[in-house]
Symmetry: C2
């Protein structure tokens, strides 16, 4: 079994090191990950600059390829250039992310975008995140990823669909199980800190917090807050079907186009 790993926290982040350790027990692992932290880059790809690749060693052994780009760049570059003469991986795993990727955050997540790229390429893919920024212990989430992998590969997900997994940052024996969830729709209440730099120029720094977080355990954040691992099936067809007919009926056609 061949597994390609990436993340958005960068190739030296402890989350991908823990994931690589667990997955390499059961599969041949190749790592192609951003050289530096690429959080909240969304589904960015690098068009206006070239990408650089360097080989990263850990403890004297080859560990993986560091790419001067985003998580989406890493998957594209691995597939179409770096590993193109090798057999396709059986799976792509992106993570383990430091911090949850739930609700509206999914659209900002570099971790999730890498799994999206995997799904676009028709390779079974999942993103996995640990829901804390403080004192992360990735070992349970890493073991869960490895334990889940055979089941995951038996799922035969439809084309263009992947899984977004979030593991609560609590002791393994406190985890209540797995919930299949929907992406939450809680909004952010944003705040910009307005400060002055040493040269008396104003700058703005984004902070913010989710408000009205759903407590329903069938929603990603609700499941996590109740102590469950959340697994959400995700796709990248963003069409809002329920509105198609209504808009058709408006007969916007010639009148508007010719105005």
């Amino acid at each position: 079994m061949r597994v390609l790993l990436t993340n958005d926290d960068g190739i030296n982040a402890p989350g991908i090191v823990a994931l690589a350790k667990a997955i390499s027990q059961i599969a041949d692992v190749t790592i192609v990950a951003p050289a530096t932290e690429m959080s909240a880059v969304g589904h960015a790809i690098t068009l206006s600059d070239p990408l650089r690749v360097s080989e990263v060693q850990k403890n004297g052994d080859f560990f993986g390829y560091a790419v001067s780009g985003t998580p989406a760049d890493c998957i594209k570059l691995a597939h179409w250039a770096l590993l193109k003469d090798q057999p396709k991986p059986d799976a792509i795993i992106s993570g383990i992310n430091l911090g949850s990727n739930t609700g509206i955050n999914v659209i900002y997540s570099g971790t999730v975008s890498a799994a999206t790229e995997g799904a676009i390429l028709g390779i079974p893919s999942f993103a996995i995140s640990l829901t804390t920024f403080v004192d992360p212990d990735f070992s349970y989430a890493a073991d869960f990823a490895a334990g889940f992998l055979p089941t995951f590969l038996s799922l035969k997900l439809p084309k263009g669909v992947f899984l977004n997994i979030n593991v609560p940052a609590i002791a393994g024996d406190k985890i209540k199980g797995v919930k299949i969830t929907r992406q939450g729709m809680a909004n952010y209440e944003e705040q910009y800190h307005v400060r002055e730099d040493p040269y008396h120029r104003k700058y703005y720094w984004l902070t913010g917090q989710k408000v009205n977080v759903e407590s329903d355990i069938n929603i990603d954040d609700g499941a996590i807050n109740a102590g469950y691992i959340s697994i959400t099936p995700i796709h990248y067809n963003l069409t809002f079907d329920p509105l198609l007919q209504e808009l058709h009926n408006l007969d916007l056609d010639m009148e508007l186009a010719r105005k």
Copy 2:
């Protein structure tokens, strides 16, 4: 009527200048746009750096605010900081983008991500793109945006839904009308040019082209290629509902979590 404009080609791009000219005939226009080109940034937001804002003049008049961030940053910053003491805009328009935002490109599009931010904030929003990179003439698309705006505001889109509009780059009198479409799912066949820099270091540059583009005029690219303006209703709930029950039935629950 108040309209907030942004784009991903940058505040000095001709597409947003043409849009501002057309929309200011019927509304008070405020522009908050990236200071520099931000194409293919996807739904990136800037967390690890501060944002800077500068006022941009054109022909001696105040034109708008240039932000050192992404299109999504522009909408967030406008809403939560720059314009927070003013009444909410009646609409947000993102564009006019140089080049189409159709099919899978929608997920990489900074232009579309700005409209997504508008929808998140509950403000009626649309993205508009002109489907060429060569000799763009934005005047028809700009007039279409202005002509469409009153109809658009009467639509009462559901929460979290916005429109993605693509205008074919052909003469206005050749445009056949408007089609309400779904997002295409044609894949890219990517290629990386592998080159050597002046210091003999290798670099990779992404190129690629869409393959198997749908000819169905109910799909975005199909409508455009047939000479129609394409309007796709888009949302940011990425849950793939059809799989929820099947995954529930797998009973992944305790067994996997406790492995």
